[in-house]
C-alpha cells in the first residue's frame, strides 16, 4: 500500500488541508494570488516526506531529552529538542511534547521563504504558527475543551506583539496529560515553544493524590507512548471550588515562572469551567479588553 499525504484545498477554496498519519494541518496565507500559490506549493513540497523524516528518529524522539546534548539530526526533530530542553533537567519531557508546534513552524518557515505574505498561519491540530506583516493581526479563538470546541474567548495577536506561536494542551486533547487541566492555551514566540510550554503548564495543573482523579499508566492506553508507565489523567470527578482554584493556581505558578524566564508571553488555564490567565495581554475578555490590552495583567474570573 502506497501512502500518499492528503493534499487538498478546503471547500472555501482558500485554505489548504495537508494530512499525513497523525499530522493534520490547516494552512492559510494571504497575499497576492501568485505569492499564495507559491507559498502553498512550498508547503506541499516540504510536507511530502516530512512524516517519514520524523519517523526515522522516532525512537530517539520518544526518549527523555538529554539536557547536555542533542542526538537528533532532522531540522524538525532538532527544533522539537530545542523547545523542550529548557525543561529537561527538572522534568521528564521528550521532544514529542513539541512535535505539533515544530511541524507547524517548519511549514510556515518554508512558505515565508518562498514568497512574501501579508499574514499566514499553519494550524496543526490547535498548535499554530503565525506570520504577521506590519499592521496585520490575527484573532484566535479559545476553546474550552478540544473535544467539544466552542469559542469562549478570542485572543488578538497584533504584528507588534512578540508572539508567533499558539498552542493548547490538556487532558481532552490527542496526547495524554499528566495534569487535570481541561485546556491550557499558551502564547509564545514560536509554535514549538508554545507547544512544549503548554504541555508543561497543563501537567502542573494538578491535585496530586486526589481521590476523584483517575489515572492510569500511559502504556496501558497506548503501548508505544513516550510517557511509558507514567500515570496519565483519565477522569476528573467532582472538585470543590477550593480544589479547582488550588489546581489552577499550581499551574499558574508554573506559568508565571515561564513568563519571567521569557519562555511564554501568556497563558490561559481552564479547569471545570474556571479560568485563570497569566500575563496574556492578548487574551481578550468580553467587556474587559481595556483592562487587558497593553501591559502584563493577571486575572482570575468566573465565566
Amino acid at each position: 500500500m502506497t501512502r500518499v499525504p492528503q493534499i487538498a484545498l478546503l471547500a472555501d477554496g482558500r485554505r489548504l488541508h495537508l494530512q499525513d498519519g497523525p499530522i493534520d494541518l490547516i494552512v492559510e496565507a494571504r497575499g497576492s494570488e501568485a505569492n499564495v500559490r507559491a507559498a502553498y506549493e512550498a508547503a506541499v513540497r516540504r510536507f511530502t516526506g516530512l512524516l517519514d523524516e520524523l519517523c526515522e528518529e522516532l525512537l530517539l524522539l520518544r526518549q527523555a531529552a538529554d539536557p547536555a546534548r542533542c542526538p537528533l539530526q532532522g531540522a524538525v526533530a532538532r527544533r522539537m529538542y530545542e523547545a523542550v530542553v529548557p525543561f529537561a533537567s527538572e522534568h521528564f519531557i521528550t521532544p514529542m511534547a513539541a512535535v505539533a508546534g515544530s511541524v507547524a513552524e517548519e511549514i510556515l518557515g518554508v512558505m515565508l521563504q518562498s514568497a512574501p505574505l501579508e499574514r499566514a498561519y499553519v494550524n496543526n491540530g490547535g498548535d499554530i504558527a503565525l506570520h504577521l506583516a506590519d499592521g496585520e493581526h490575527f484573532t484566535v479563538g479559545l476553546a474550552e475543551r478540544p473535544d467539544a470546541p466552542a469559542l469562549m474567548r478570542t485572543m488578538v495577536v497584533h504584528a507588534d506583539d512578540p508572539s508567533r506561536g499558539v498552542a493548547t494542551s490538556g487532558r481532552h486533547g490527542r496526547s495524554f496529560s499528566l495534569g487535570i487541566a481541561d485546556a491550557v492555551t499558551v502564547l509564545a514566540r514560536t509554535a514549538s515553544q508554545a507547544d512544549a510550554t503548554a504541555t508543561i503548564i497543563a501537567n502542573a495543573v494538578d491535585l496530586p493524590g486526589h481521590p476523584a482523579i483517575a489515572r492510569c499508566p500511559a502504556h496501558d492506553l497506548q503501548p508505544d507512548s513516550d510517557l511509558g508507565a507514567r500515570l496519565v489523567t483519565r477522569g476528573v470527578g467532582e472538585l470543590s471550588t477550593g480544589e479547582i482554584e488550588a489546581a489552577l493556581e499550581s499551574g499558574a505558578a508554573c506559568a508565571r515562572k515561564l513568563l519571567a524566564a521569557g519562555l511564554i508571553d501568556g497563558a490561559a488555564l481552564r479547569l471545570h469551567g474556571e479560568m485563570i490567565t497569566v500575563g496574556a495581554r492578548a487574551i481578550e475578555m468580553p467587556n474587559a479588553q481595556a483592562l487587558l490590552r497593553g501591559g502584563v495583567t493577571e486575572s482570575a474570573m468566573h465565566v
Binding site: R3, P22, D52, C55, A148, P149, Q222
Partner: protein
C-alpha cells in the same frame, strides 16, 4: 484471522501500517492520528464526519445490483446516501452559513440537505421510565450530583415521566447547576447511564434503551395493567382454581370476588376486607403508601393491605392468591380455623397464571426523547430569511431529521422537535460551555425550494465532495415511522 504480517497481533494489540508512525493500538483505542482504531482486533478507519447509507426498507423499492453495466467504482449509490450533521461542526453564534450544504439528486429532483450541529440552549430531555415503583411525587425536583436538573411530571401507563433540562436549569441557576444539567442531558442523549435522585423519592439510574435501576434494583417488566384490569384479564383463568385473588397495585388494587369480572363468573363472596378507599366494587385506591415494594406500594407483606376476614362469609380452608401487577410478587394462602391466612406453596396451575402475567408484561425500559428548538441564529445558517425555513418545515416542504433519525416537529411557532436518542448514531450529542447542548440537525428540501427560501446557494456542495473524509454507515430507511426502534 490476521494474515497480513504488517498488522499481525502482538498480544491483543495490532500494529497499524497506515503511516510510518506504525502505532501499536490496543482494542478499543485509536492510534496517534485518531483516524485508525483497533475495533475487536481489526484495524478500522474512524473519521469525524458521518454519512448514513440507507438500506432498502421492507417492502420498499429494490435497487438492482449493479444496475446498468459495470461497476463505476462508487461504493455508494447516491440516492441512498444521507449526510448527517454529526461532526459537521458549527460556529457560535451561528450567523455563518451552515458547515455543510450538500446537494444530491433523488428521483431526478435535485435535493439539498443542510446539515449543521445546532447549539441548543432551549433544550432538554423527556424521560419515560417503565416502572410502577414509586419514584417520587409529581413536580418533585430531580437531581444529578446534588444539582437540580429537572422535575417529576405526570405518571403515564406503566411508567413515570421526568422532564429534565430546559433553559432555566441550563442558564437560570448557579453555574454548577448549568454545567451538571448540561452533562446530564448530554450523557442521557448519548445513551449513557445517569444516576438521578428525586427529592422525597427514589434514586434511579436511567439509560436510554435499558431497564431503569430503582434504588439499586433493576426493573424487569412493565405491569400488565392496573390491578383491576389484571383481574378482568385473568378472572376466567383463576375461576375454579382459587376462592379469592387480590392484585396489589399502588393505583387500583383489584379483588376478584367483588370485581365485576368475578360477579359475572358467579364467584361467591369471601368475606375479605380491604384497606384503602373503595372506588367501585372490587377496585380500591390507596391500599398502601407508594413505594418500591409490591405493585408500586411500599409493602413487603401483602397481608398488610387486608383487614380481618368476615366470619359470617368466610370459612376455614378458603384459598387466596395475592399477586402484583407484574407477577413479580405472588403468594398463596389458606385460611386456618381462626380465619387467619397462612402462606402455602402456590399450586402449579396458579403458578402458571402468575407466569402468564409476567409473560404479558413488556420489558421495562427507559426511553429518552431529546427536545430542542432551532432558534433564529441556527436557521440563519441555512437561509438569509430564517422565518421562511420555519414556514417551509410547517408546510412539509422541508424535512427535518436529527443525525438521520426522524423527528417530531411540534406544531406552533419556531422549529421545536423531539427525537428518540437511541435512533441517532453513537456520540451524536456534544456541548458548549455556554452551557448548551450541540445536537445534529438536518433540513432536506428540493434545491429549487431552497433557492426560493433564500438559501446560501453559493455554499451548496455536491455530495461527492464529502466522500473523501466521510464515514459511511448503514442505517434503516428513513421512511420508517418515527418512534420505531432502529
Amino acid at each position: 484471522m490476521m494474515t497480513d504480517t504488517t498488522t499481525a497481533p502482538v498480544d491483543d494489540k495490532i500494529r497499524c501500517d497506515a503511516c510510518p508512525v506504525m502505532c501499536y493500538i490496543k482494542p478499543g483505542a485509536a492510534g496517534a492520528c485518531d483516524r485508525y482504531a483497533n475495533h475487536n482486533g481489526e484495524l478500522v478507519r474512524v473519521d469525524p464526519h458521518i454519512v448514513l447509507e440507507r438500506t432498502v426498507s421492507h417492502g420498499g423499492r429494490l435497487v438492482p445490483f449493479q444496475a446498468g453495466g459495470d461497476w463505476d467504482g462508487k461504493i455508494v449509490h447516491e440516492p441512498s446516501v444521507f449526510v448527517t450533521a454529526i461532526g459537521a461542526g458549527t460556529t457560535y453564534p451561528d450567523y455563518k452559513p451552515a458547515p455543510f450544504i450538500v446537494s444530491s439528486e433523488i428521483d431526478g429532483i435535485d435535493m439539498v440537505t443542510v446539515v449543521t450541529e445546532g447549539i441548543f440552549s432551549y433544550c432538554g430531555v423527556k424521560v419515560k421510565i417503565d416502572t410502577d415503583r414509586y419514584l417520587g411525587p409529581e413536580t418533585a425536583t430531580v437531581r444529578a450530583q446534588g444539582e437540580a436538573v429537572g422535575h417529576v411530571t405526570t405518571g403515564e401507563y406503566g411508567s413515570q415521566m421526568l422532564s429534565l433540562g430546559g433553559v432555566h436549569h441550563l442558564t437560570g441557576g448557579s453555574k454548577k447547576e448549568g454545567r451538571v444539567t448540561c452533562d446530564t442531558l448530554m450523557d442521557l442523549s448519548n445513551c449513557k447511564p445517569v444516576e438521578l435522585t428525586i427529592d422525597g423519592g427514589a434514586t434511579v439510574v436511567v439509560q436510554a434503551g435499558y431497564p431503569p435501576i430503582v434504588n439499586g434494583v433493576p426493573e424487569e417488566r412493565m405491569r400488565v395493567g392496573c390491578g383491576s384490569a389484571t383481574i378482568g384479564m385473568f378472572a376466567k383463568q383463576w375461576h375454579g382454581k382459587v376462592d379469592e385473588v387480590v392484585v396489589v397495585d399502588d393505583h387500583i388494587t383489584g379483588v376478584l370476588s367483588e370485581h365485576q369480572a368475578g360477579k359475572l363468573l358467579d364467584i361467591p363472596d369471601t368475606g375479605i376486607k380491604m384497606k384503602g378507599r373503595r372506588s367501585t366494587p372490587g377496585r380500591y385506591f390507596q391500599v398502601a403508601e407508594p413505594g418500591t415494594g409490591w405493585g408500586g406500594t411500599k409493602i413487603s407483606d401483602p397481608l398488610s393491605v387486608l383487614g380481618p376476614f368476615d366470619p359470617k362469609k368466610s370459612r376455614p380452608g378458603m384459598t387466596m392468591l395475592m399477586v402484583s401487577t407484574t407477577g413479580e410478587h405472588a403468594a398463596y394462602y389458606e385460611l386456618d380455623e381462626t380465619l387467619k391466612p397462612v402462606e402455602k406453596e402456590i399450586p402449579a396451575d396458579l403458578k402458571h397464571s402468575v407466569e402468564r402475567i409476567q409473560e404479558n408484561c413488556e420489558p421495562a425500559l427507559c426511553t429518552v426523547l431529546f427536545m430542542g428548538g432551532a432558534g433564529g441564529s441556527l436557521r440563519a445558517g441555512i437561509t438569509d430569511n430564517p422565518v421562511r425555513l420555519t414556514r417551509s418545515v410547517k408546510e412539509a416542504l422541508t424535512r427535518v431529521t436529527s443525525g438521520g433519525a426522524p423527528v417530531y416537529v411540534w406544531p406552533g411557532g419556531g422549529i421545536t422537535f423531539m427525537v428518540d436518542v437511541t435512533r441517532l448514531p453513537a456520540g451524536a450529542f456534544g456541548y458548549v460551555p455556554t452551557p448548551a447542548l450541540v445536537a445534529p440537525i438536518e433540513f432536506t428540501l428540493k434545491l429549487s425550494d431552497y433557492a426560493a427560501l433564500g438559501g446560501h446557494m453559493d455554499h451548496v456542495r455536491p455530495l461527492a465532495s464529502l466522500k473523501d473524509n466521510a464515514e459511511l454507515r448503514q442505517t434503516p430507511s428513513l421512511q420508517s415511522a418515527p418512534g420505531r426502534r432502529a
